[in-house]
């Protein structure tokens, strides 16, 4: 490669490829940050396996494709990037993320979108426990998590804002229920949409599944169109079954819990 090869390359058109095999996570992330600082906008990471903190805190609108299994806290605190994982992701995807999008073509681990405050997380398959806990929204910043498979216990626990959509369509475990127990426990904002029925015993104390109104239908369709476009899924099929929603039953669900 000529000395100025990197400089001559059209950064917008040709992605920067990194073979992450055997690279320690700090070195990998240093490499990415430096390249972002130099104006790189497109990345392809190959042979990723367990490297933590990828794309964390990056506040530019870069695009990144990840092949392999990225490590904990993928895209934490990020403010702008679009990250596509061609495989499974581990725990803590999109921890406290602000702006941007993470698409996972496989499964994701526990605590996806913890304290998420904006952006999108689109997961094709199953997700783990405590997805979307402590999500929040402010004015036009509405974080959205869509799970194509099934979810574990505590989905949307303590949710204060934002949207979680659970489809249950692309799970590797046909026998298991669409979600675990304690869904929406302590939620005081936001909404969880579930495709099909929700067994009330799966919900946190005081919650009941409700019908969608026209505003819900409009928003749901908008979020799902984007999801289906990202993952090449037939939107009509997703919408062919009615949804139920779970919303807070009060602004302060546990206001009297310790006041007896």
């Amino acid at each position: 490669m000529p000395e100025h090869g990197n400089f001559m390359r059209d950064k917008a058109e040709n992605p920067m490829e990194i073979n992450a095999q055997g690279i320690y996570y700090k070195d990998l992330n240093d490499m990415i940050r430096k390249a972002v600082g130099n104006g790189e906008e497109n990345f392809i990471l190959r042979n990723v396996n367990g490297q933590r903190y990828i794309a964390d805190g990056i506040s530019k609108k870069i695009s990144m494709e990840v092949y392999g299994v990225p490590g904990q806290d993928l895209g934490a605190f990020m403010k702008g990037p679009r990250v596509v994982v061609h495989g499974n992701a581990q725990d803590g995807v999109g921890n406290t993320m602000d702006v941007g999008k993470i698409v996972v073509e496989g499964m994701a681990g526990d605590v996806v979108g913890y304290g998420m405050r904006g952006g999108r997380i689109h997961i094709k398959g199953d997700a783990g426990y405590r997805v979307g806990i402590h999500m929040k929204a402010y004015q036009d910043k509405i974080p959205v998590i869509v799970i194509g498979g099934k979810a574990g216990d505590f989905l949307g626990e303590y949710m204060a804002g934002g949207v979680i959509i659970l489809l249950g369509m692309f799970s590797q475990d046909a026998a298991k229920p669409i979600a675990g127990i304690f869904m929406g426990t302590g939620m005081h904002g936001g909404v969880i949409y579930v495709r099909g029925e929700v067994d009330p015993h799966q919900l946190g104390f005081g919650l009941i599944p409700k019908e969608l109104d026209s505003e819900d239908q409009k928003n749901l369709k908008m979020y799902l169109k984007e999801y289906c476009d990202d993952l090449d899924i037939d939107l009509r099929k997703v919408l062919s079954v009615p949804f139920k929603k779970v919303v807070p039953f009060s602004h302060r669900p546990y206001g009297n819990m310790y006041a007896y």
Binding site: G22, Y24, N49, G50, V69, G71, G109, G152, D153
Partner: protein, 382 residues
């Protein structure tokens, strides 16, 4: 031991386990690669391994691994062994220098059987061999200052100390052992000292356990175990699990699956939803074994000569991933730790909270006849 280093910091800990159900033994490189992939889950204050099938030449004898602060402690322990067991072979545990492993204790191993009546004077006549060896271990660990038996099973062994697991493995030369089950631990001590005895795995007889989390019920579990002659001396919560396994499964005869329900029982609200028979069973389990319940966050892997088991607490406060390829089953804290040694598993899944993943050896397999296999190259680590 001498080098207690008190440390309180954010929690992590990494686990990895491999079992070949067909009894095929592989060398240690694979498990080392897998746990090293999770390097940053630990902080260098504890690493350890358990390996099964490693002592085929002495497979019918209990392999006692001893760590001792000094020669006085070692001699006191040896004196006690000479009174209580017949030693057929003894040697230093082979080690090689590693610059990150400092100030190790004296490490020896003894292949033994209980002294039988009519031979020399049997210290505790009437006990089964297993119960006898448990008593030997408890007596040494409780009564001999500075000496600990940290492994006491047949055809298996624990290797542990203060350091990152990949360095501990190098120190103990684990690439030279071949086992059909391996477990590994990368420690990040939070509430108890990082010292040689406190590294995982914890063992008694052929039970070994590695653990990520905190057992808040330690006090209750410890007092319960004392009633049955188990004494906790290693200053770490996880120790109780090793003895609970021995008590509940070996001595009380509960199936492994039910023992897991002692540790992580269904919630009362779940029991309310059960049919009549299950309701009776789980109510009884919670009543009889309430003091065996493990409270607090945990992911554990425990092993014995016949299998490997993974278990989470009831609300999954620590991660655990499992995968299968052929006759080999993998479990680890992170999927990447599995893919580091098995890039293309047939199935990967996250076990449900409180539901054990129980992998037992295929029926009738021999673990001693086959030639050991060199572990495949380490693919995905740094």
């Amino acid at each position: 031991m001498k080098s207690w280093q008190y440390q309180k910091d954010i929690s992590g800990c990494g686990l990895s386990g491999i079992i070949n159900k067909n009894g095929e033994r592989v060398t240690g490189e694979g498990i080392i690669c897998s746990i090293a992939c999770q390097h940053d889950r630990g902080n260098g204050l504890g690493g350890g391994f358990a390996a099964y099938g490693i002592y085929p030449d002495f497979k019918d004898h209990y392999a006692l691994h001893i760590m001792a602060d000094n020669l006085d402690a070692l001699h006191a322990a040896e004196g006690f062994l000479n009174q209580t067991v017949s030693v057929v072979h003894q040697e230093k545990i082979p080690t090689r220098p590693n610059k990150y492993i400092t100030d190790p204790p004296i490490l020896r191993r003894y292949f033994v059987e209980p002294v039988k009546e009519g031979d020399r004077i049997c210290r505790w006549p009437g006990l089964s061999d297993d119960d006898y060896i448990v008593r030997v271990v408890m007596n040494v660990n409780r009564d001999i200052k500075g000496a600990y038996i940290f492994s006491s099973g047949k055809n298996m062994g624990a290797f542990k100390g203060v350091g990152f697991p990949e360095d501990i493995a190098d120190f103990y030369r684990l690439d030279e052992y071949a086992g059909y089950i391996w477990t590994a631990h990368n420690r990040f001590p939070t509430n108890t000292p990082g010292w040689w005895g406190g590294a995982h795995p914890f063992t008694i007889l052929d039970w070994s356990i590695v653990h990520n989390g905190e057992i808040s019920s330690y006090g209750i579990n410890k007092r319960y175990l004392e009633m049955f002659g188990y004494h906790c001396t290693l200053l770490t919560d996880t120790e109780v699990v090793a003895y609970l396994l021995d008590l509940i499964i070996r001595r009380h005869g509960l199936p492994v699956k039910l023992a897991c329900k002692v540790f992580a029982p269904p919630f009362w609200q779940e029991i309310d939803q059960m049919d009549k028979e299950s309701k009776r069973l789980f109510t009884a389990i919670r009543m009889v074994y309430g003091s065996g319940l493990l409270n607090g966050p945990f992911a554990i892997l425990f092993a014995y000569n016949g299998g490997l088991v993974g278990l989470n607490d009831r609300v999954k406060l620590r991660p655990l991933v499992a995968a299968v390829k052929g006759d080999t089953v993998y479990m680890a804290s992170e999927e990447s730790a599995i893919r580091a040694i098995c890039p293309d598993p047939e199935k990967v899944w996250a076990p449900k909270a409180g539901e054990p993943v129980i992998v037992t050896m295929n029926k009738g397999v021999s673990t001693t006849k086959k030639q050991p296999r060199i572990s495949p190259a380490c693919a995905g680590t740094w």
